[in-house]
């Protein structure tokens, strides 16, 4: 009974965070010359995991508890082709949930990084959101589901993930 309650408590933030509608970010990329749009729900993640070879144990461990991975990256020809306000729906969503902003670094060049997490007991996270803004590029990464903080730390290292140009069939569109 106690275990069931703990599991339910852990599942609540995971369920709550799936409500963000990524269509609200479409305006952000209205003037983009290129975009990367990745949407992987729990089923697709399971399918992807089945195709990760024996060498990808650390990746399998990272994605085991995930319920969704969403990436939106927009590249622009010139600075000023997107406005910060276009990110407001996401920020409002993050303010309303159980998210904590753990990184908010802004540089003079107007480049900025924001990292939000949903902290869970036992060094685990219920979600991770990264917003990275540059003059001519903006990226939003939204990872939902339970993951170990140590796996995320490894992710910012290398985790055996090949560099992006080596990956075939990356869904990248240009305007």
């Amino acid at each position: 009974m106690k275990r069931a309650l703990i599991l339910m408590a852990a599942a609540i933030p995971a369920l709550a965070q799936q409500n963000f509608d990524f269509k609200l970010l479409d305006k952000l990329g209205a003037n983009a010359k290129g975009s990367t749009n990745i949407t992987l729900n729990a089923n697709m993640l399971k399918l992807a995991a089945s195709f990760i070879g024996d060498g990808g144990d650390s990746i399998k461990s990272l994605i085991r508890g995930l319920t969704g991975v969403y990436v939106r990256t927009y590249e622009f020809d010139r600075p000023g082709q997107y406005v910060e306000a276009d990110l407001e729906p996401l920020r409002a969503y993050l303010r309303s949930g159980q998210w904590s902003k753990i990184v908010d670094v802004r540089e003079a060049s107007k480049e900025a990084s924001e990292i939000y997490v949903q902290a869970l007991p036992n060094d685990r996270l219920g979600g991770l959101v990264v917003i990275s803004a540059e003059a001519r590029e903006v990226s939003v990464i939204f990872i939902s589901g339970v993951m170990n903080a140590s796996d995320v730390a490894k992710l910012s290292g290398n985790l055996g993930i090949p560099d992006l140009p080596d990956l075939p069939n990356t869904k990248k569109s240009g305007k």
């Binding site: 992807a48 900025a112 993930i161």
Partner: protein, 105 residues
């Protein structure tokens, strides 16, 4: 009494007219018995349908597996791309924090 007599008259057995049999037979068309070729017999048709289904099912299963494999490969590539982008952005954030810390110190 009248009704009884009328009924009796009406239900009285009468012999058939002499030409009755000939008339009935004349109205009957006797069709010749058609013998179906073996490939049009129900058993042959059922066997053919079974063979076609037997050939189609493994093909459908094979195609389903192929399609699932393609989907899994695409999902894996998308996942790796997503993780690569996440890694880059996390490293970028780390570098920005370091730069800010250096400035502050």
């Amino acid at each position: 009494m009248n009704l009884e007599n009328e009924l009796r008259d009406a239900l009285r057995r009468e012999p058939a007219p002499v030409d009755f049999t000939a008339k009935v037979l004349a109205g009957t068309v006797v069709s010749p018995i058609r013998v179906l070729p073996w490939w049009r017999r129900p058993a042959a048709l059922a066997l053919a349908a079974g063979l076609i289904l037997g050939a189609m099912i493994p093909t459908a299963i094979f195609e389903y597996h192929q399609r699932e494999e393609r989907r899994a490969l695409a999902a894996r590539n998308q996942l790796m791309a997503a993780l690569a982008i996440t890694r880059t952005r996390l490293q970028q954030a780390k570098a920005r924090i370091h730069r800010q810390t250096r400035h502050t110190l």
